[in-house]
């Protein structure tokens, strides 16, 4: 009975997974409620976690959670890809709608025997891994969860809030602000929208990455998952030895239905299948016209004489094994051992990129409070966008590609858009790889992001001889990091501001609120740790 509804259940689980993730991202904002853990989906992501851990030679708590996922994958196969992965769900939805349209043209997708293209993903994984061995973390660009979250945070969420917010503002203006509509708008803003629509710059390319992945899935279903996804490759390596296997031994018809159904193109024309490619979508089980396909737990050890058609009980399908191979072949075992040795070597090897002189371009970038030293930070950050999403002032912006390829999309403070809120430590709380350390409010209030420096050619009291003091007014440090001395400028007694370098934490509210334009009378610069 359940079998008939398995597809429906899978689709429900996929939808639920996407909704949970979207809910989490949506609510990654001030005030962060306790039950939402914005790191969750990253913590169970073995690709991002292991690559970051290897590149940085650190132990991340996420390693434990993601190892759990690997254990599950070893037991039952790549169910994560088929049931949980939000990007996979998105691609499935896309293919499903594509096929619904295609039906109008009476065109069916035809599959051939599995392509060797699928090995590309292992090459990608190996490449990323080798880079990680040398201390360069590239998981940020290729991790599917990150791609999904990043695109949602940077492109989708601002768009949706912008449209709703703008629509309401328009409506209010036209209807001349009726009280009931205003209170509705207020409630909506408080509970659902952001108080001001977040804007992220240089993020068009992030949307393009997802768009390309989605386009490819129109050519072949789950193109990304079949051929490219390094997380899929990680799970596939684990799933090679899974003992939860497909069984279609009893089928002699070779009607090709399941082969064409398989979204991963994992079924060969002789009805056998590639174990590690299967994502347990169960299409072939439910939609088999002959009800011949099923999944069984296979014995890990022991004799397996039942091969192909030479069964002792020809009628009962349970006893017919597809292949007589043991779970691991010798070659596979050696490969796995090899990988294990490489990983442990990688984790202990000295890093070559440390203490390299910094490029001048990246030096001027202000990092969020609690960020690791620049070199480490760039390698640790997986560019998930959580910190930028949660930032209440929108000061955290993805660094553009032009500012140095290595730091692309990592968070920097755009001090013309916002400032670092004095009593806020949310960015550290949502970072899945602890590139931004979680600071207590007290520690955060002492963390030096940068240092304010007056430009006396622009600052009004110095340059024009007019009282201003907006910077001092806004300075959140209790004893004021911007101090004032009164002195004669152009024959007038003027209050001149100056920075107390010991107290200044570089929150940059002074720069944001400084009334001069386009250049600011005070700018916050990064001071390298001595």
């Amino acid at each position: 009975m359940i079998a008939k509804h398995l597809l429906l259940i899978r689709r429900l689980v996929q939808t639920l997974s996407v909704f949970i993730l979207v809910f989490i991202i949506w609510n990654t904002r001030y005030p962060l409620s306790g039950f939402i853990n914005p790191e969750f989906y990253f913590l169970i992501d073995p690709f991002a976690m292991f690559i970051t851990a290897v590149a940085e030679r650190v132990f991340l708590p996420g390693l434990i959670y993601s190892a759990l996922l690997l254990v599950i994958t070893f037991a039952i196969g790549r169910a994560f890809c088929g049931w949980i992965c939000p990007l996979g769900a998105l691609l499935d939805f896309l293919s499903w709608s594509q096929q619904s349209v295609m039906k109008l043209f009476r065109k069916k997708t035809m599959e051939h025997d599995p392509l060797s293209l699928r090995h590309i993903k292992y090459a990608i994984l190996a490449g990323v891994f080798i880079f990680a061995l040398f201390g360069i973390q590239l998981a940020w660009f290729l991790d599917p969860i990150t791609i999904f979250v990043r695109t949602f945070s940077f492109n989708v969420h601002p768009f949706i809030t912008g449209v709703i917010d703008g629509g309401f503002m328009r409506l209010l203006k036209i209807t001349d602000y009726p009280i009931w509509l205003e209170s509705m708008y207020n409630t909506l803003r408080e509970g659902f929208l952001s108080l001001s629509t977040p804007k992220f710059f240089h993020t068009g390319i992030i949307l393009v990455v997802l768009a390309v992945i989605m386009m490819l899935s129109l050519v072949k279903r789950r193109f990304w998952c079949r051929y490219l996804c390094p997380l899929g490759a990680t799970l596939a390596l684990t799933a090679k030895g899974t003992f939860f296997q497909r069984d279609a031994g009893g089928c002699k018809k070779n009607c090709g239905v399941c082969m064409n159904l398989c979204r991963m193109n994992a079924i060969r024309s002789d009805n056998s299948y590639i174990r590690e490619e299967c994502i347990l979508c169960l299409d072939c089980v439910v939609l088999c016209p002959n009800d011949k396909t099923s999944f069984f737990f296979k014995k890990l050890w022991g004799s397996e004489q039942h091969t192909g058609g030479q069964s002792k009980h020809p009628g009962s399908e349970q006893n017919i094994w597809v292949r007589a191979n043991p779970v691991f072949s010798r070659a596979q075992f050696i490969l796995m051992l090899h990988g294990l040795i490489l990983t442990s070597l990688g984790a202990t090897a000295p890093r070559h990129t440390r203490n390299k002189p910094q490029r001048p371009g990246t030096e001027s970038n202000l990092r969020p409070p609690g960020a690791l030293p620049e070199e480490e930070f760039v390698q640790r950050c997986i560019r998930c966008g959580n910190c930028m999403k949660v930032c209440p002032t929108n000061v955290l912006q993805p660094s553009s590609i032009g500012k140095g390829l290595g730091g692309t999309w990592s968070p920097v403070l755009d001090t013309r858009r916002g400032y670092c809120e004095y009593q806020c430590n949310l960015c550290g709380k949502v970072c899945p790889t602890d590139a931004i350390r979680e600071l207590t409010i007290k520690h955060k209030q002492q963390f030096k992001i940068g240092l304010g420096v007056f430009n006396k050619k622009i600052c009004l009291p110095y340059a024009k001889g007019e009282n201003c003091i907006v910077c001092e007014e806004h300075c959140p440090v209790p004893d004021k990091a911007i101090k004032i001395r009164t002195s004669m400028v152009r024959g007038k007694l003027i209050k001149l501001p100056y920075v107390d370098t010991d107290l200044c934490i570089g929150c940059a509210i002074c720069e944001l609120k400084c009334p001069t334009a386009p250049d600011k009378g005070i700018v916050v610069i990064k001071v390298r740790d001595a």
């Binding site: 001030y30 203006k173 007019e466």
Partner: protein, 330 residues
């Protein structure tokens, strides 16, 4: 997929779908005729933003004294007593009025730090307004720090909600450029629509130190209804504040001096800078209220630029010794 594209390209290049000259011209005509439609939809909305705001008129009310100064342990009780000493809220708020209460919610600080108006004072005023028959009581401030954090951590959002007032975050489309009378320092500045178009405006600042203005009192508190790049107001601040006060003409000024910030204003952050004076000052003359509050800091009111300028502008007298001041201890 390939077939799909083939079909589309075949369709697009087929004789059938190619338009004749007539069709082409017709298409152009249709698209041109849609311009008035688009215009009709968009222009009224644009015209709406050009809404003209006139200076607010103060309701002329007789009060039992010029200024009520009430001391006591409970912020709510002294606020209630101060309004009572003036003759009750019904002198300022009539039945069916739309009332604006403008506290200082500018900073992300807890009430103890005396950076924002005491939430109890605000809540009490909201209740008094409703008791006098107000239709709706609006509370808002254009904050300096992130509005969500200011509203929450100041305790004002909660207090106002509990007392039934409407607390709202400012809506950027409601800042409407206002032309000030010729000769004023502000010239033109965006002001918040709600603050100008209301029946009764109650200004509820907290008394604090401010290194440029000397003190930030009721006149400085009105900066919270300004939009735009507010830093620019700091140049020639005193005159601009007087302009602003003249334009808004608050019906009632209630200065919260329950806790006052002596140094490092207007944000503070150090409890040592906070003095607990347990006082509320209320009156219809903003200049007089400011002048009296200055004496709590042991500062000569004449030394505060905005008070001097307010007197010059005819907003009211700053002469404390001539005023009828009712002092009460609860």
């Amino acid at each position: 997929m390939k077939h799909f594209f083939e079909k589309i390209t075949r369709y697009m290049t087929s004789r059938k779908s190619q338009s004749s000259r007539k069709e082409f011209l017709r298409g152009i005509a249709v698209s041109l005729s849609s311009i008035p439609l688009v215009k009709a939809l968009s222009v009224p909305a644009l015209a709406e933003s050009e809404k003209k705001l006139k200076p607010r008129q103060k309701r002329i009310t007789q009060t039992m004294c010029d200024l009520a100064v009430v001391k006591g342990n409970s912020p709510a009780a002294i606020t209630r007593k101060a309004i009572q000493a003036l003759g009750g809220m019904s002198r300022f708020v009539k039945k069916g009025d739309i009332v604006v209460i403008k506290p200082n919610i500018g900073w992300d600080r807890a009430p103890e730090y005396a950076a924002n108006t005491n939430p109890d004072v605000v809540a009490t005023l909201v209740r008094l307004c409703y008791d006098s028959g107000a239709k709706i009581v609006k509370v808002f401030d254009n904050t300096c720090n992130s509005s969500a954090m200011c509203y929450t951590n100041s305790g004002i959002a909660d207090a106002v909600k509990k007392s039934g007032g409407q607390i709202s975050y400012v809506n950027s489309s409601k800042f409407i450029p206002v032309r000030f009378p010729a000769g004023s320092a502000l010239e033109s500045w965006p002001l918040y629509l709600d603050a100008v178009e209301c029946d009764s405006f109650i200004n509820v600042p907290i008394a604090k130190h401010h290194s440029l203005a000397g003190l930030t009192l009721s006149m400085k508190n009105l900066m919270g209804i300004c939009g735009g790049s507010r830093g620019e107001i700091h140049v020639n601040l005193d005159k601009k504040l007087a302009d602003l006060t003249k334009f808004i003409n608050p019906d009632l000024t209630v200065i919260d001096a329950y806790r006052i910030l002596l140094h490092h204003g207007p944000l503070g952050g150090n409890l040592n800078d906070v003095k607990i004076t347990k006082t509320v000052i209320a009156g219809t003359n903003p200049v007089l209220a400011d002048a009296y509050t200055a004496t709590l800091f042991d500062i000569d009111p004449k030394k505060i630029g905005s008070i001097r300028m307010g007197e010059e502008y005819g907003l009211g007298s700053a002469n404390i010794s001539n005023a009828k001041i009712t002092k009460i201890s609860v």
